[in-house]
């Protein structure tokens, strides 16, 4: 590792994405880390720090879609398995004991990300992998990794452009999948990703302007890689002071990490947002504040005797009905040797064979004339 702690992000891989959606009732978050490989440890740490803050402020795992493109915690190169640290004093294990990664490793692709956003997931996708939001949800989307002017790299093999992202958000708006959306991106030239948004109610923050690189914070000599990026490090510091009752507003978040600390100039975009940022609380997007009504009525719970009695009767019926069952033999040699191989089901010939025969017959009849057909039929 070079002596200087500044290390520009190389355009190699996209580490992670975090998508969170917030909102009054069905707030969700999406957090995406799109970078692969051990040297992109810091992108996973970025994503997990935001995940941790969000969980701490009250969002349950069912409303968080966490996508990590590579596994750093149990990587063979990690000297402390099952941990991901954000600071070189190793005081904060952002991986924790209660993490649920919804999309991991090869599942983090542009297609899956866009499907999660727009809701067009394949049938059979479990609930934890879907973005369950409605028109009253506030959504937070956090993306980190390697990017450039107008694109973000996924897993060193594909990119998502700012136009695709803007169109995905427009689809979400048309399908009423969000009420307000906060988009945070921590990559090189991050501001280029929000330039093309055109849907209403979107607020965006980026760690650097077009033409600038976002830099990493500090390396750790024991782990051997940079642990976090500057912008997210200071955002995490800022979020650690927020509790669910805080009244801090978005203007404070815009001031996090000035150029003196971050070396790059963080940017933000609020023209599509209808409310004034100074009236928007941080906990609107990062926390989940439920409205609770206290009632003084008492409700008594009756045990349901009906079910227990019927199941008791069934138990007795079971005993008398069946003959003794037995376990299967694990390695019946005689039976295995003498089993016949199953005949494959007959399928009608496929398109190619049919087409070939049709061609042959057509050529025959063209050559010899149609009058021969009566000999066939």
């Amino acid at each position: 590792m070079a002596a200087n702690s500044f290390r520009p992000r190389v355009l190699t891989a996209l580490a992670g994405l975090l998508a969170l959606s917030f909102g009054s009732l069905a707030d969700s978050r999406i957090e995406v880390c799109t970078s692969r490989f051990w040297f992109n440890y810091r992108h996973v740490a970025n994503t997990l720090s935001v995940y941790r803050s969000v969980k701490r402020l009250g969002i349950p795992d069912s409303h968080i879609v966490l996508m990590l493109a590579d596994d750093m915690a149990c990587n063979a190169r990690n000297p402390k398995p099952a941990t991901v640290f954000s600071h070189k004093n190793m005081e904060l294990n952002v991986y924790g004991d209660d993490v649920e990664v919804d999309y991991r490793s090869y599942e983090v692709t542009v297609e899956n990300f866009l499907r999660v956003l727009t809701g067009r997931v394949p049938p059979g996708t479990p609930r934890s992998k879907r973005l369950l939001s409605d028109d009253r949800s506030n959504i937070l989307i956090y993306m980190t990794g390697h990017g450039g002017n107008g694109f973000l790299k996924f897993q060193d093999s594909e990119e998502i452009t700012n136009i695709e992202l803007a169109d995905a958000f427009e689809q979400m708006w048309q399908k009423r999948r969000y009420n307000e959306l906060l988009f945070i991106i921590d990559t090189c030239q991050g501001a280029s990703m929000y330039e093309r948004f055109y849907s209403p109610n979107i607020m965006a923050l980026a760690s650097s302007q077009v033409g600038e690189d976002s830099l990493s914070h500090q390396p750790d000599p024991a782990i051997g890689v940079h642990l976090m990026d500057r912008y997210t490090f200071y955002v995490l510091e800022f979020l650690e002071e927020i509790n669910p009752a805080s009244q801090t507003n978005m203007n404070d978040l815009f001031q996090v990490c000035p150029k003196s600390l971050c070396v790059s100039t963080p940017g933000h975009r609020t023209d599509l947002f209808q409310r004034d940022p100074k009236n928007v609380l941080i906990t609107d997007f990062f926390g989940s504040v439920r409205k609770v009504e206290i009632t003084t009525e008492t409700i008594s719970l009756q045990p349901d005797l009906g079910i227990m009695e019927s199941s008791n009767k069934e138990d007795q019926i079971d005993e008398e009905r069946m003959e003794p069952l037995k376990y299967a033999e694990q390695l019946p040699v005689a039976q295995i040797i003498h089993q016949k191989p199953k005949l494959k089901d007959w399928h009608p010939p496929g398109g190619f064979i049919l087409g070939l025969w049709a061609l042959i017959i057509m050529v025959f009849f063209k050559t010899y004339g149609i009058k021969h057909m009566k000999f066939i039929f």
């Binding site: 596994d71 915690a73 149990c74 402390k80 398995p81 099952a82 941990t83 294990n93 991986y95 924790g96 004991d97 209660d98 993490v99 649920e100 990664v101 919804d102 991991r104 490793s105 090869y106 599942e107 059979g124 996708t125 479990p126 609930r127 934890s128 992998k129 045990p303 005797l305 079910i307 227990m308 199941s311 008791n312 069934e314 138990d315 079971d318 005993e319 069946m322 003959e323 003794p324 069952l325 037995k326 376990y327 299967a328 033999e329 694990q330 390695l331 019946p332 295995i336 089993q339 191989p341 199953k342």
Partner: protein, 511 residues
């Protein structure tokens, strides 16, 4: 039957203060156990098993009340008409040669094999949907299971539980070797346990210790079993197993002494109140090996002996439900210590430093009778600097002979030697003991053939470089810097005139 009666009694005790109004034996029970096995290589293996047995026919009735059996898995069984499900996540490899045979091994990565019931019409569709649902439950990429990595074994993987018939059409098997196991897979696995990670044996399941191991395997097995000895009705059995092997050097700092605290950084504080049985077994079969004795602390109250995997084994049993073993004021921290008799060997090794000092290895060994002892040392050949080679490097380099100084027991007792009286050949070594004599032997020197470089290469390189420089650079230099002057031929000179005279006489053209 006695077990069932006892179970019912325990359950009645638990439900009594609940105020249900009628005594109803609960139909599920939990047994948990931990087996600690010290392995021959100094490592220690810990195998957790949590078994929930549910006396119910999940296929037939509409079940809405889940107690100990997790709802997520119960709904899977009824929705996809499963007969058996076996899912495992493993990191590492079980080294049978060093560790002995495992209880239940699993392949590295994720393995899923399922027997569907014969009422299922489209097995492939159910298989695909099941793997998607499981990938959501266990936070793993099981959704990558499709026809390209699924097989239908025809001979093996017979059902491990009760089975009516074994038509292999209803069996599916898939393995994802690239699957990583980490905390996000352990967390939902722990959440399926009735006591979660709050009480009983599951408090020991901390991710930062469990993943710092040479082998980590967690699995879920669901199968139908006999409810009683007559086997007339079916119960569903869910077994969650977790096997880890702690490395003696990484976790144990090189020592073979183990304790629950060193392995898991936790001790056992209380049994799980929902468990009918909660036990810790420690394998004390090989309590005497290599002159070492294994001591287990606190001493066990009972032991269990049986033939396991073909050999007779003895286990020390600690029952967590027994207040003598564990109670409110006392934690259970099992300690395993190997006590060895004092060493009577000696080894001294001084490694070499390049161009400073050679290797020195001294060992004091006791050779057993009628045996052959081999001592071997591995070495690597390195290249020297080219000036350090002798003029005949292809001869090789010599390694000095080894010295063996031995006290050999004599067959016949000898009397002490008087140096002045006895012949000279008897007084070479001072003999102090009459039962053995001292001898010093040497081995042959070793001639090692080191790789020799081609010594003509420096000369070749110099020649070639100089030639190239001279020809190319020299020509170029000349072309750039040489200037050409036209010289007028001069007329005069006495010698020239004389020479022309002679040439005219000869008939040769003039200068």
């Amino acid at each position: 039957m006695a077990v069932a009666v006892r179970l019912a009694l325990i359950v009645l005790l638990l439900l009594g203060p609940g105020g249900w109004g009628h005594t109803e034996p609960s139909r599920d029970s939990l047994r948990e156990e931990l087996v600690i096995t010290p392995l021959p290589s100094g490592d220690v293996a810990a195998t957790f098993q949590f078994r929930t047995r549910w006396d119910s026919e999940l296929q037939r009735e509409e079940v809405s009340h889940y107690r100990l059996f997790p709802k997520a898995l119960g709904q899977l069984i009824s929705k996809y008409s499963l007969q058996e499900l076996h899912l495992s996540f493993t990191q590492g490899f079980w080294r049978t040669r060093y560790w002995g045979p495992p209880f239940l091994q699993a392949p590295s990565g994720a393995e899923l094999w399922v027997w569907f019931q014969d009422t299922v019409t489209d097995v492939d569709k159910s298989w695909k949907e099941l793997s998607n649902v499981l990938s959501g439950i266990f936070c793993a990429s099981l959704n990558f299971i499709d026809s390209t990595n699924t097989v239908i074994p025809t001979a093996s993987f017979k059902p491990l539980g009760l089975a009516n018939g074994t038509d292999h059409y209803f069996l599916r098997y898939a393995v994802l070797p690239r699957e990583v196991v980490c905390t996000e897979n352990l967390t939902p696995w722990k959440k399926l346990l009735p006591c979660s990670s709050k009480a009983g044996l599951s408090v020991l399941l901390k991710a930062d210790r469990l993943f710092h191991t040479s082998y980590h395997s967690q699995a879920v097995h669901i199968r139908p079993v006999c409810r009683n000895a007559r086997c007339t009705s079916i119960s569903w059995e869910l077994r969650q197993t977790l096997s880890v092997v702690f490395d003696a050097f990484v976790t144990g700092q090189g020592k073979k002494d183990w304790s629950l605290f060193r392995m898991f950084s936790r001790t056992l504080t209380e049994p799980c109140p929902l468990a009918a049985e909660s036990r810790v077994y420690v394998d004390i079969t090989s309590s005497k090996q290599d002159n070492e004795t294994l001591e287990v602390n606190p001493p066990p109250l009972t032991t269990y002996q049986d033939v396991i995997l073909g050999t007779q084994k003895t286990y020390a049993v600690y029952d967590l439900l027994d207040t003598a073993v564990i109670n409110n004021s006392r934690n259970l921290n099992l300690q395993l210590k190997w006590k060895r008799p004092p060493e009577n060997g000696y080894i001294h090794y001084q490694p070499a430093q390049d161009r400073l000092q050679p290797h020195l290895l001294e060992m004091l060994i006791q050779l057993p009778a009628n045996s052959v002892t081999k001592v071997s040392i591995q070495f690597e050949r390195a290249l020297l600097k080219w000036t350090e080679y002798t003029p005949d490097p292809n001869h090789g380099f010599y390694v000095s002979p080894s010295v063996l100084s031995a006290l050999v027991p004599s067959i016949v007792a000898s009397k002490p030697v008087d140096w002045e009286e006895s012949p000279l050949f008897n007084s070479l070594f001072p003999g102090s003991d009459s039962s053995s004599y001292f001898v010093r032997l040497y081995t042959e020197p070793l001639l090692v053939n080191l790789p020799t470089p081609d010594f003509s290469m420096p000369y070749n390189v110099i020649c070639l470089t100089c030639t190239v420089v001279a020809v190319c650079y020299g020509s170029f230099y000349n072309l750039l810097t040489r200037t050409f002057h036209i010289e007028e031929p001069s007329k005069g000179g006495l010698a020239k005139r004389l020479a022309n005279l002679i040439r005219r006489a000869r008939g040769v053209p003039p200068l």
